[in-house]
Subunit: 324 residues, 2 copies
């Protein structure tokens, strides 16, 4: 049985090799300079969770993953990668996946253009899979932007409502997981009911993914993260464990309120982390992640029994286990 992050399915190791080869091929262009920039974060690696989800979704009714499923999956991965290129410009991030970011290595202009190029390649692949996939992927890119804009609007706002957080992660993260699973179902020619169930699964899985990611930024060590913990608070992005700590009131909330609201130096970051880690915000956010995981598992009810369906059912718990 393949040991892949979160999704375990026989034959998946070979399928991931197909994904890697197709990804590298997808960004090749006659311009060697652009090819190098556009493939930089792709060759740096990554868990490929979105294409893996597309391939697993395409196999819930049995059968092997087709080339169309691979192409659908890499279209989603290219959207994710293009969006990372733009994120890293916005964050002025120096490293990602253990390598220099594109903006740090070549410059912001190159990173913006190469990000656009990756999005265009994703759209081109989606168009080759039909108008439904093309329209879905385009709409999803729009939702990513909406989710990120929602986050931006509340940067450094300690009164950020929880509804803003949930709407933001639904757009910036869950929508692309939903689309990965949906495209898998569409290209596999599944019934509409199954396609909708897969979409709902992907959406819930994506919510778990982002809440877990936000929890790790609080609870993991700097070594595990490869960057200082509490980075989101430093940048003014107040995520679920922080908002729950504030909602709980009392001395902890009051102390945290006194620190948040503007960029943090090292001492402020450490103090804020200490408060959030010691209070009910983390287990409370974890409970919400568990609720979304339960929704993802329940979304599998209409799916036919298969190894792929089992892989979908097990993945949310495996993801939750990565926090502890």
């Amino acid at each position: 049985m393949a040991q892949l992050p979160f999704f375990s399915l026989p034959g998946m190791v070979a399928d991931v090799e197909r994904i890697e080869a197709a990804l590298v091929a997808s960004v090749r262009t006659h311009d060697a300079y652009l090819s190098e920039i556009a493939s930089h974060l792709i060759v740096a690696g990554g868990k490929r969770l979105r294409p893996v989800l597309a391939l697993v979704a395409a196999q819930v009714a049995g059968g092997a993953a087709t080339d169309d499923a691979v192409q659908g999956g890499i279209a989603c991965e290219l959207v994710q990668t293009g969006s990372l290129y733009h994120d890293d410009v916005m964050d002025e991030a120096p490293t990602r996946r253990g390598v220099e970011t594109v903006n740090a290595k070549w410059g912001n202009l190159q990173a913006i253009l190469a990000g656009d190029f990756l999005l265009s390649r994703a759209s081109e692949i989606a168009a080759s899979l039909g108008t439904e996939v093309a329209a879905l992927l385009a709409r999803t890119i729009g939702r990513l932007c909406e989710g990120q804009i929602e986050e931006l609007r509340h940067t450094y706002n300690a009164a950020r409502p929880e509804s803003s957080y949930l709407a933001s992660i639904a757009g910036k993260t869950a929508s692309l997981y939903a689309t990965s699973a949906r495209i898998g179902g569409i290209v596999a020619g599944l019934d509409r009911g199954l396609i909708d169930a897969l979409t709902s699964y992907g959406e819930s899985f994506g919510m778990v993914f982002q809440i877990v990611d936000d929890l790790l930024d609080i609870s993991a060590t700097d070594d595990q993260l490869g960057k200082p913990a509490g980075h989101d608070m430093v940048e003014g992005v107040y995520t679920l464990p922080v908002l729950r700590t504030l909602q709980a009131g009392g001395i902890a909330a009051a102390s945290l309120l006194g620190i948040l609201g503007s960029p943090l130096e090292v001492a402020g970051r450490e103090k804020a982390l200490e408060i959030v880690r010691a209070n009910a915000g983390v287990p409370s956010a974890m409970a919400t992640a568990r609720e979304w995981a339960a929704r993802a598992v329940a979304a599998c009810d209409p799916l036919p029994p298969s190894d792929a369906t089992d892989a979908l059912r097990s993945a949310p718990d495996a993801l939750l286990a990565s926090v502890v």
Copy 2:
């Protein structure tokens, strides 16, 4: 007869109103903040040359422009606008179309995201017009990036080969004009031969457009441009009149070489402008623009006689006339 920039066709004024209404509707989203940012440069106006070209192309065999032609045209305009959002971030431009740029007014992060959002809306509209249009628009966005990367690669390179300039403007400008005209032909259901002729027309028209734009940056007054002339040289983008001046050799080329190669202050810009204006680079570049205009007119040969075909034939000369 409607007095529109370059393309004169009966009924075009009403069609441009359809374009304006569809453009504004296309960027409306449930998020008021994102809608405001995404519509900022659209409501600031613009010549709408790409959608106008799509509408004229759709009418070369007679008949009125359909809603699909309007949608195809605005997909191209949204690509252009999204790409301006990203350009202005890259150039740190303060104003555009007489208003503050998005990056100046809201910030770089917002401008990058809203640019991505505009591109996603363009792709969504393209998908609604079928896989051929969706694939074509996606490929065109990729070509815009290739053209801009080619330009970036030679920034401040006074030895930039003319082939680099031509490849860059073919990608960053002509490809989108070619696609505007092609989409007009596709949605009008024209024969393949006519669609190819329209594409060739758009490509040549786009080459004229960019060479003219680059000539204006040299020969127009600051008032006409709304910014200091010679801006491209200041930014290290050496365009055709500059490259031709350098190619001609002699004292002018030697003096210009002594100035170019790094960012220019006011005195350097004025001296460089004086040299390029006084020498053969400008008429030589103009001659090349005329050659492309002749190609555009020749591309109309297979088109059926119609008001729209006449409008296409007249447009390149009208564009050339804007330089003097």
